[in-house]
């Protein structure tokens, strides 16, 4: 357990996206579960390779859109038919076709806000501090290098064995991540 306090995990650096994808697959196959991969751009299949299957973001966006539509329509119905009814040439108070544009805009507004803030919340952003930035070369993760991290929290993690395993993945180098 002492390892937990002194180290966040191990980080391997790769030079191409293909190497990272292959390494992530092998690491997952080897039984490691608390792993993460870092890349300067989205790589197809990488999230799947580190064991992430589906995001619930679309569902959240759908629900928010429905709430937006409902509240948008209700707002207008309440204002124009209940709270302050105006009789325009004897037309119905609940003149729903005239309420469609605002209902539509509110649907989009709610859904879009949910997509952005939902994405940030699920990703845990903003993150003021994260140990991976303690690896000096990690700054290149936003340029042209690809990283794979096995966290010390992983039940299979053992500093020496895991380091040996990571070296078999053919990385440029393996470094320890201070917590």
């Amino acid at each position: 357990m002492k390892q937990l306090e002194t180290i966040y995990g191990l980080m391997a650096e790769f030079t191409t996206p293909e190497q990272l994808l292959e390494a992530a697959r092998q690491t997952h196959d080897a039984g490691y579960r608390r792993i993460d991969a870092f890349a300067p751009f989205p790589i197809e299949g990488l999230a799947h390779a580190v064991g992430f299957h589906r995001t619930r973001l679309p569902l959240v966006v759908l629900l928010a859109g429905m709430v937006g539509a409902g509240s948008g329509f209700f707002l207008q119905y309440y204002a124009a038919a209940v709270s302050y009814p105006i009789n325009v040439g004897g037309r119905p108070m609940n003149s729903w076709p005239a309420f469609i544009p605002v209902t539509f805009e509110m649907t989009i507004l709610f859904a879009a806000a949910a997509a952005v803030f939902g994405m940030l919340a699920m990703n845990g952003l903003p993150t003021p501090y994260h140990p991976v930035f303690n690896v000096p070369r990690f700054a290149l993760a936003s340029r042209d290098r690809f990283f794979l991290c096995i966290k010390a929290r992983d039940p299979m993690f053992d500093l020496e064995l895991t380091r040996k395993f990571m070296l078999t993945l053919n990385p440029r180098e393996v470094s320890e991540i201070e917590p």
Binding site: A24, D36, A37, F38, A39, P40, F41, P42, I43, L46, A47, A49, V50, F52, T55, L57, P58, V61, G65, L75, A79, A80, S83, Y84, I86, S95, A98, F99, P101, V102, F104, E105, M106, I108, L109, A111, A112, A113, A115, V116, G118, M119, L120, M122, N123, L125, P126, T127, P128, Y129, H130, V132, F133, F138, A139, L140, A141, S142, R143, D144
Partner: protein, 463 residues
């Protein structure tokens, strides 16, 4: 002949022309784009341009302040023309914004890879154009400080906005559009802000970009959600952008004024918006690629494609003009018929014919590949279209209003110097924001360029 084998070959080569210059890798695209922001040296042309646009922003400030003090009487608006420059400029600016969303959302959904390098600054252009547009309805209100009455809130007067009015729809549409454009632009920026944070040398830059990047670290899972969110936003922004100009056209079409009350308005306004917007994207991208030496990223293929979009939307707009005239005669309504004859031969006839020359005749040059491959010609055509689209709104607003039903209430409209100052001031504000953006944020999406590099490499490997 156009069908000669060598010509065909040239056409094929042109269609497959690269959307990225040769020899670029992940590091080089990152360094090239981020160095524009992070280099300590500010180019001279930037300082000059910034100062000029700043002076124009001051002109806008003066014009708006005088307006707030003296009222809308300083403008040329007079009954029957109550909608003068303010509404013309509003529709012009908001239309310009539409190309940015088209590039960032619709072309993303259609998987048009060439959009990558122009997407970021087109989106920025959208935001800035909408900022300029938003000023006009507000200052046109007469009592702008009561502008919030457009939004529903429980107030002591126990009143609500009239939700059956297109002007209220407009307030909702434009504010939603501005918000969603900002959100879309910002989430695209997050990974690039992280790049700037990691590459910045001085501490203040590191801190500011770091705060804005919110701790983005490029985790695979984060990318997955980021991609999902971007696609969802693109899917949401696509109907949104169509709805915004549709609702702007409702401002006219719902009224019974001859020349406004037409069912062709929504699609014709949307096409006109994209037309004006692409003209503005060309107007901006041609000098930008030259000044920042970005010819490798914004290639001739991009300019060629934008020229084609300009031609296609220009033809739709031309169809709109024709149908407007046709239905005026076909309707058998004497007021409609008079309106179109008056538009073509009345006191504002020169405006109408210049507009036809700018918007229908000029883009026909884009049929020729020779012209589309000349940067100067493209720039000139784009400028003509920018002007033509402004004239279009002038014609729609002024010629429809100035002679409606009763000859006793006819009149003419002349803008005053304050109309012109305010308009020029917003052009200044737009350029001012563009200059700030160019200097302090990555003007091309870096992470999408890396994706492009990866896919180009894959293509090469497959060959």
């Amino acid at each position: 002949m156009a069908d000669s084998p060598s010509d065909k070959l040239a056409a094929a080569e042109f269609a497959n022309a690269p959307i990225l210059g040769p020899g670029h890798d992940f590091a080089s695209v990152t360094d090239k784009i981020s160095s524009i922001v992070l280099s300590g040296r500010t180019p001279k042309w930037w300082i000059v341009g910034f100062l000029i646009s700043f002076a124009l922003v001051m002109l806008l400030m003066v014009s708006v302040t005088y307006l707030l003090v003296a009222g809308v009487g300083i403008w040329g608006i007079q009954i029957p023309i109550g909608w003068g420059f303010a509404i013309i400029n509003f529709v012009w600016w908001i239309g310009i914004g539409h190309a940015g969303t088209l590039i960032s959302a619709i072309l993303l959904l259609l998987r048009q890879q060439w959009r990558t390098s122009i997407n970021r600054f087109a989106e920025a252009m959208t935001l800035f154009a909408v900022s300029c547009a938003g000023i006009f309805p507000l200052i046109h209100m007469g009592r702008p400080w009561l502008g919030y009455w457009l939004f529903p809130y429980p107030d002591t007067m126990k009143m609500w906005p009239n939700f059956r009015s297109p002007l209220v729809w407009d307030a909702f549409a434009v504010s939603t559009y501005a918000t969603v454009s900002l959100l879309f632009w910002f989430i695209g920026l997050i990974p690039d802000l992280a790049t700037l944070r990691d590459r910045a040398k001085n501490r203040p830059a590191k801190m500011i970009y770091g705060l804005l990047a919110m701790g983005w670290r490029g985790s695979a899972v984060h990318w997955e959600r980021h991609e999902t969110a971007s696609l969802l936003l693109a899917g949401l922004a696509t109907p949104l952008v169509l709805s915004v100009h549709t609702i702007v056209s409702f401002d006219f079409a719902i009224a019974i004024v001859p020349g406004w009350h037409a069912t062709i308005f929504p699609p014709y306004f949307v096409a006109g918006a994209i037309y004006a917007g692409f003209a503005m994207v060309l107007t901006l991208s041609i000098p930008i690629r030259k000044l920042f030496r970005l010819e490798d990223f914004i290639t001739m293929r991009h300019l060629d494609n934008m020229g084609k979009v300009l031609l296609a939307t220009g033809l739709i707009v031309g169809y709109g003009y024709m149908m407007e005239a046709f239905s005026a005669f076909y309707s058998g309504n004497q007021y409609e018929r008079f309106m179109i004859l008056n538009r073509m031969t009345g006191p504002y006839a020169p405006m109408y014919w210049i507009l036809i020359a700018c918007n229908i005749v000029t883009p026909q040059f884009l049929w020729f590949r020779k012209i589309r491959s000349k940067v100067g010609a493209l720039f000139a055509i784009a400028m003509v279209v920018n002007m033509g689209m402004w004239l279009e709104r002038f014609v729609i607003v002024v010629t429809s209003l100035h002679r409606d039903f009763l000859p006793s209430s006819w009149g003419l409209y002349y803008p005053t110097r304050w109309d012109i100052f305010t308009f020029v001031g917003t052009i200044g504000l737009f350029l001012f924001l563009v200059f700030l953006f160019l200097r302090y944020l990555p003007l091309i999406s870096i992470f999408e360029m890396r994706t492009l590099v990866a896919s180009e490499e894959e293509k090469r490997a497959a060959e």
